[in-house]
Every structure is written in C-alpha cells, then in structure tokens.
Symmetry: C2
Subunit: 329 residues, 2 copies
C-alpha cells in the first residue's frame, strides 16, 4: 500500500482544469500499488484513477505504457483508458512527477483463486497478446534472462541470510537457464506482471486488466508461464494442475500454442520463477528500515522454482504435450 | 496512510448482501486515517465508505460514535451517515472486526489553510455543538486533564531524547494546568479532533465533517481551542491571529461564547496543546520499527504550547476580551 506523493487540493484543481472531465468532487489516495501513487478521483462527470509515476518507473517508458493502454482499449481489451487533456496529451505533470488520468475500471481482484478465475485469465491473456500484436512501439524486457545474473550477483553475498542453500541453488539454475533458454519463440507485447491484483472480476466475469507498467516485448509463452506461477500455486506452494489446465486451455481457445511453445513451458516457468525470486530477494535484502511497503517473501518463488525443476514435460501442467492437442483443444 | 485489515472480495460480497445498497462494483483501500481501515466501496447504487474498526478504537464506544453521526445528520450537520443493514443495525462484523458502512461525503480537506477556511470551520464547529446538545448518549473524554499526567509519566524517562528541556517543561506545565484548569464551562458533545484532514471543502464551501472517533463530552470552548491550535498556526509554528479571529467570530455567529469561556481560552489552548504534545510524544517514543504510519513530530505542539504560555488575554487571539463583544459580534 502506498501513496508516495501527496497532492494538495489546490494543485489537483489546477491539474484537472486542463481536462474536460468536470470539477473535482473528491480525491482519495488508494492503498494499493507499490510502484506509483494512485488516487481515486471523483469529478462531477465520473470516477477516474490519477497516477503519479514515482522514481521506479522510467519516464521514458511512459509513452509506451500509455500508448499500449490506448491501443488495447481501442481493440476491445477491457483496461483503464488514458484520458487526454484538452491539448490532446495523456501524459502531464503534477507535483513535479509525470502524471496521467485513466478511466476507472470496475471490479475487484480475487483474493482466493478458484479454477474459473484461471480459465478467464487464460482467455484474457490470449486476447491481450492478440490485440497487442500490431502495436507499433516496442520496449525490451528489462527483467529478462540477461538481467538475472547481475541481479543475482548484487545479492549473492547475502542470499544465505534468507536460506542457506539459496546461493548455490540460484547459481546452478542460472547456468542451466543460460544454457537452454529458448530464443526463437513467438514474441510480442507481454503484460509480464499479470498477478491476481492486476486482474479484476465482477462475480465470475473478468472485468479487465490493470497495471501495464512492466509491459514489454518478450515471448508470449513466457507471459503465460508468469501467470501459471502467480495463479496456479496454492498458499502452501503446492501446484494445482486443474488451475494450470484451465489457464492453458482458456488461453488456447483464443490463441493457439505451437509445439515449440508447449515444449518450452517448463523451462519458461523456471525462468519466470527465477525472475520473481531474484527481484523479491533483492527487495528483501535492500528494503529500507521503516519502509511503508512490506517486501514479499522470496522463498515462495524458490518453492515454485523447485516444482518446475522436477517437471519433465507439459503433461505435468495438465495438458497432453502432443502437437495435435493444441489444435484440438 | 493505512489499511490494517485486508477484506477479500468474497467476504465483502457476503457482507454487502446484508444491506439494501445494490451489488459490489469495486472496493479500494484508502490511504488515509491512522486508527481504522477505510475502503471506498462502489456499488450499483452509489459510493460508500466501509470502515473496519481496529484495536485502538474501543468497540464499546461504537454505538456512541455511530449514534452521534446519525443524530447530527438528522439535525442537518453534513457528515457521513451510517447506513443500516436490512436488520436495522448499523454496526456489524467483517473479517473479525466491528465494521460499519457510511454514506460518502464529497469534498477534499485543505492542505494549505487560508483565512476563509477558518471562518467556515468556526461556523461548522458551532453548528456541531448546537446540533449535538440534545444527543442522549455520553462519552467521557479519555484524553482530558486527568489522563495527561499518567501519559507524561509513561514518557518521562525518555522525553529528553526528543528535546533536552521537554521533561521539565511538561512537568511544570502539568502542575500549572492542574492548578487552574476550569471545570464549570458550558459542556456537551465535542468533536475533539477537528484537524484539517477531518474537514472537507468543495471550493470555498465547507462540505462536511468526518471522523468522529474521538468525540466525547467536554467543554465546548476546549474543542474550539483544539481547532485554534490545529488551524491557526503556520508551518513554521508562528501564530496567525487573522485566522484565529475568523475562527472565533465564525463560531460566535452560531453559538455565543460566555465571558468565562472567552477568559478561559488561553488556558484551554495550553491544555489542548498539552494533549496533542503528549499523545504525539508517546507515539514518537513507542512507534514500532517499520510501522506503516510515520509518527507526527511532537515538537510542533511544544512550540504551540510555548506561544500560549505567553498569552495574557484572549485579545492575543484577535478578539476584544470584553463581555459585550460576544453579543455584538
């Protein structure tokens, strides 16, 4: 939970005058989101989300993120839509920060994942990949394989504080991933952070996706692997194959997976586990005293990595690994 | 900023089914309020505030607080109004906590206090006092004079860590307040915490008061002294007599102040400064490592106390101290 930048009523009113959205009625900081400051703004015209981009977001990436949201919304993907100011610009300044207004997306994110959530998630992720295919801007994934070793090295001296075997485990896994990481899979714009708190539902219906601030170009199947790790493990870190099967089959109803993508899933899932294990380890070891945001436990992802290390084929994820199954699904 | 209790979508939907307010559309934790967890709930019928009462609020006081809000709203005081469930009860349980829904109050609290704010505040405080006069429940002020010495004693051994002269200053001031504290002033229900973040404005119009969780029976003029301290000192702790004059005259347009009340203001202001100095000192010395809420600096209130110690009459607050002036104002 976080609001890093406090916006005064006077600054807000001056900011909103640049938009055609009516007058400010109320504005409350939202206790969600760890990267940016988010406010729920109500005006005489409706409800909006006001986001102030804090220093962990590179301002040079904002045209990509906002452009992607506009592109996706135009293609029918349900997501917050940037609201342009009267001068046509969606990206402005407030309290010395880059800031943007987006439409308010109804729904709540699911706290306890049920199988139907995974099915709907798969369909939404495939819809996102399909809709993003002709988006013209690109952004490399700053948190893909080449970044993992330097990230590991910055933590190596203290990783044992978290668990004694962590340094050896991470070092060996990095060697393995370097050796066999697939590089020629179908790629395009990925969400790259589609955790449950970024997917809204109203009842059993998925109402939309939020938080595109890790979006980047990478292998589509890697994005799917991130989702499998985030949605298909229970709180005790046990794997739920039913949820994985529903996630994958929900995805394949909208976008088919090639045999190469299917075969690569176990290694992509190991990589996806490594990426979140490393960033959580870094945050765990480096969070400031008295920080408002409690870091997430990196060891959840060590357990997920360990599961995938034991997987020999995509059959472990509840699917037949044969080539025909993708088309027949 | 704080949300201490996380409410799941499933628990929330089950909770809302007990009310006649439509279906849940969204629910976001609000990064404001330091005592309770507050959510902005949107349903198909409208917007509401959902409050979960955390352990710093005594559940036995909740009927007083909620009853007061109902009473005030019925009398035309603009404030959040408790929404009863279908069974007529406004106080229910959610996630193991006492919980209540209230109507959503439009407006924003002022970050930079201007003179017109103080004028409107005075009128609203007098309206609150007048409207509360026939409220039948009572609640003693747990943070009035008798509580200050034990609070001081719990901090005495470490008060010098904050400022070297603080132990002597507090001890002498407590002796002085004990000796001359007025006990026979007109009393009734006070807000007792009417800081700027509890007073909403839309433009220059005061749109309502919130956060009645320190409300209690005490001297009306003491409540006014709390406001004077909270609204009429600048960020450098200098006193703004124009703001004080507008606060007091705004108040007296709706409720007149007796000569005794006027004469007591300087000592009440010292007491009000002592009350917040002591609770802030306690929080400063006792806040847990890594707490999400940064404690407020107690020394702001040492400066305010020091100002009032130099005041010889209410004339320092911008008003004529003569008896006639109250009626003539």
């Amino acid at each position: 939970m976080a609001v890093y930048t406090e916006v005064s009523d006077e600054d807000l009113i001056a900011f909103v005058r640049h938009y055609d959205i009516g007058d400010v009625v109320s504005c409350k900081g939202i206790a969600e989101g760890v990267e940016n400051s988010n406010y729920l703004l109500r005006t005489t015209d409706g409800s909006y989300i006001l986001t102030l981009y804090e220093k962990r977001v590179d301002a040079r990436d904002l045209p990509f993120f906002l452009g992607l949201m506009e592109h996706l919304a135009a293609k029918g993907v349900r997501c917050p839509q940037p609201i342009p100011a009267r001068n046509g610009e969606a990206l402005r300044q407030l309290c010395g920060r880059p800031a943007a207004l987006t439409s308010f997306l109804d729904g709540m994110w699911p706290r306890r994942i049920q199988p139907f959530h995974c099915s709907a998630l798969g369909a939404a992720l495939a819809g996102f990949h399909t809709a993003g295919a002709d988006f013209t801007l690109t952004r490399p994934n700053a948190l893909s394989l080449p970044s993992w070793r330097p990230l590991y090295e910055s933590c190596a001296a203290r990783a044992h504080e978290v668990r004694a075997d962590l340094p050896d485990l991470l070092s060996a896994e990095l060697d393995h991933l370097d050796a066999i990481w697939p590089t020629d899979l179908p790629s395009g714009v990925c969400h790259a952070d589609l955790f449950p708190d970024n997917v809204f539902f109203i009842g059993e219906n998925l109402s939309g996706l939020i938080d595109f601030y890790f979006a980047c170009n990478d292998a589509y199947a890697y994005d799917l692997a991130i989702c499998m790790n985030a949605w298909c493990f229970e709180r005790d870190n046990s794997f739920n194959a039913t949820k994985a099967r529903l996630l994958l089959s929900g995805y394949r109803k909208t976008r088919s997976l090639s045999q190469d993508e299917m075969a690569a899933l176990p290694i992509l899932a190991r990589g996806a586990a490594m990426r979140f294990l490393l960033t959580r380890l870094y945050d765990w070891l480096n969070h400031p005293e008295g920080a408002m945001v409690k870091p997430k436990d990196p060891l959840d992802y060590a357990a997920i990595l360990s599961f995938h290390q034991g997987v020999r084929s995509v059959a472990a994820y509840g699917l037949d690994s044969g080539a025909g199954s993708a088309a027949a699904e």
